[in-house]
């Protein structure tokens, strides 16, 4: 291939890559952007533009069922993610530090299985447990259910951190007379903290997003936001659902942006 030909082919390649990126990002973002635009639509029809209005956002803040479901979702996410983080971190520590113990294979399988288990099966199984134990279904059972799924994700995120940790720091602390417990809390845990934090956020996100497992394990009065949205969506597309969706997307976009900026700042400090 002659030099100019190679150059022009490289040029064509660059444009082909840009075109692919443009098409890909279009596919990913157009549905979300349309949804946000039409949350500001005056008309009740969601696909015909009738002028700018924020009335659906106003209606949202007067909708008490919606507000109480937001509260339920937040309580559920915080409580289940906290429980999942404690259990998941313990499991990760146990798995990383104890290469051999009775039932390790079964334990590891139990940790990895829920990651790929269809939600319908997990939800059904947990519901049958609560029925068998004769527990009244409501927020507590939902917290237990979400914690059980969330802890597996926390374990998977945190375990590599414990595995990669420099043993000599722990040995040094022990040599200097620290008890195993104080070593764990003053050395091991702070070193794993970034991973534990990500695990907590992941568990919270999964809980906030879950419809299926929550539906199986919920009782009267414990409707979460996804459950409320789902029951409204089943009745049809409404601007009100668009408004709550747009708000949620805004919150998540803000959180992602803030997280990225924060990471960049700590990164800059580290160098």
């Amino acid at each position: 291939m002659s030099a100019p030909a190679r150059l022009s082919s490289r040029f064509a390649h660059r444009y082909a890559h840009r075109l692919v990126l443009l098409a890909g990002f279009g596919f990913l973002y157009v549905p979300i952007i349309l949804l946000i635009i039409f949350s500001f639509n005056e008309s009740r029809l969601v696909t015909v533009w009738a002028g700018f209005s924020t009335r659906w956002y106003g209606a949202l803040f007067k909708n008490e069922q919606m507000l109480s479901s937001v509260w339920n979702s937040l309580v559920l996410a915080l409580a289940s993610a906290s429980l999942a983080t404690i259990l998941g971190t313990l499991a990760a520590y146990g798995l990383a530090r104890t290469p051999r113990f009775k039932g390790r294979m079964i334990f590891a399988a139990m940790i990895y299985a829920p990651l790929v288990m269809p939600e319908v099966i997990s939800g059904l199984a947990l519901l049958l447990l609560f029925v068998a134990l004769d527990l009244d279904r409501g927020l507590p059972t939902m917290i237990m259910a979400h914690a059980s799924i969330g802890m597996c994700f926390v374990t998977v995120v945190v375990q590599p951190r414990f595995m990669a940790m420099d043993r000599s720091l722990i040995e040094a602390a022990m040599d200097l007379g620290a008890t195993p417990l104080s070593t764990f809390f003053s050395i091991t845990l702070p070193l794993a903290f970034p991973a534990i934090q990500s695990g907590f956020l992941l568990a919270m996100m999964l809980s906030l997003d879950d419809l299926v497992i929550a539906s199986f394990t919920s009782g009267p009065g414990s409707t979460t936001l996804p459950m409320r949205i789902y029951s409204q969506v089943r009745l049809g597309v409404t601007p009100e659902v668009n408004a709550i969706s747009a708000l949620l997307i805004g919150v998540i976009a803000f959180a992602l942006l803030a997280g990225a900026l924060l990471r960049r700042r700590t990164h800059a400090h580290a160098h």
């Binding site: 890559h17 499991a91 520590y93 146990g94 790929v116 099966i121 068998a132 969706s245 997307i249």
Partner: protein, 313 residues
């Protein structure tokens, strides 16, 4: 005494695991109660008979239990629910159609994600984290909302039909909403990041000098791609395919919101059996069979992950 102090290291080694065991047994106990036990219950209820009652099944054995009682109860074991599954064409259709829709979605995902991931790795390194984040960000928004967004697009009077009519491509609105095609689009859109991520990682960590070597040896970019980049990225492609295929098979939300009355997917069937028909044994039996169906791909995924981990790829 002094000998004891001298041998403190082996003593510590013997003690260390013991101290750590509480870190294992607490979560293990939790998992046994909230994961293993529920599964046994699913199997148990799949073997009971359906009755119209609360709870809607005849229990096979419950605690407390005596031996003679147990033998009596064994007589209540029934494969009725499983026989029902095999005799009712609905379930067989639901299984086959789940496999078909999930398989097709995986294929389409692959065809979209591969060029996209490849182009992402060709972005200037300074901008790459930004674009990569942009590709993964939609995944962080609610699953339900992303599926919901497609209803307004695919409906008969939706955005897509408006656009196509306006462009003059079609003369009458296309019926996409409430068909298997809509389910396919929904699955592809929702699970695309699962496919992009492993493929991107598999391409990005390839040594760029391999491509330069191929070019120096006279390979065209096209043949360099097929003989170097693509084979090296295959583990990522397979991982992505399993990450899409496994959850897509049991999907409930997407067929429920985008599919129509003729859309059959097993995750949806289990939900309907459970909530609408209140046929718990059938739902449980269908769940057990779905799990059996998923064992092969799940096992394949675990194998792939451990090979990747052990080879340090």
């Amino acid at each position: 005494m002094s000998a004891n102090r001298m041998s403190s290291t082996p003593q510590e080694q013997a003690q260390a695991p013991k101290r750590r065991l509480w870190a294992i047994y607490a979560p293990m106990l939790w998992m046994l109660i909230f994961f293993a036990l529920p599964f046994l219950l699913v199997v148990k209820i799949s073997l009971s008979q359906t009755v119209l009652a609360r709870p809607p099944y005849v229990p096979v054995f419950d605690l407390p239990l005596e031996w003679s009682d147990f033998l009596d109860r064994l007589g209540l074991f029934s494969f009725e629910a499983y026989q029902g599954l095999f005799n009712d064409p609905l379930y067989l259709d639901a299984y086959l159609s789940s496999v078909r829709v999930a398989g097709l979605s995986t294929l389409v995902c692959m065809l979209i994600a591969y060029p996209f991931a490849l182009s992402l790795t060709r972005v200037h390194p300074n901008w790459r984290p930004f674009f990569f984040g942009l590709a993964i960000a939609p995944f962080c928004t609610s699953f339900l909302i992303r599926v919901y967004a497609w209803i307004a697009i695919l409906k008969d009077e939706g955005f897509l039909n408006h656009l196509l009519l306006w462009l003059g491509v079609i003369e009458a609105p296309l019926q996409i909403f409430a068909t298997d095609s809509a389910v396919l689009i929904g699955i592809v859109y929702s699970y695309l990041p699962f496919m992009i991520l492993p493929i991107y990682v598999a391409i990005e960590r390839q040594d760029q000098s391999l491509l330069e070597a191929a070019a120096d040896l006279g390979a065209s970019p096209w043949s360099a791609f097929w003989r170097v980049t693509f084979p090296l990225s295959l583990p990522g492609v397979i991982a992505g395919a399993l990450l899409v295929f496994i959850p897509a098979i049991g999907e409930f939300v997407i067929p429920d919101l985008l599919g129509g009355s003729q859309t059959l997917m097993i995750g949806h069937t289990i939900w309907v059996d459970f909530f609408d028909n209140r046929d718990w044994p059938s739902a449980a039996a269908a769940a057990v069979l779905l799990l059996a169906l998923l064992l092969v791909p799940i096992w394949a995924y675990e194998r792939l992950q451990s090979t990747i981990a052990s080879e340090g790829l």
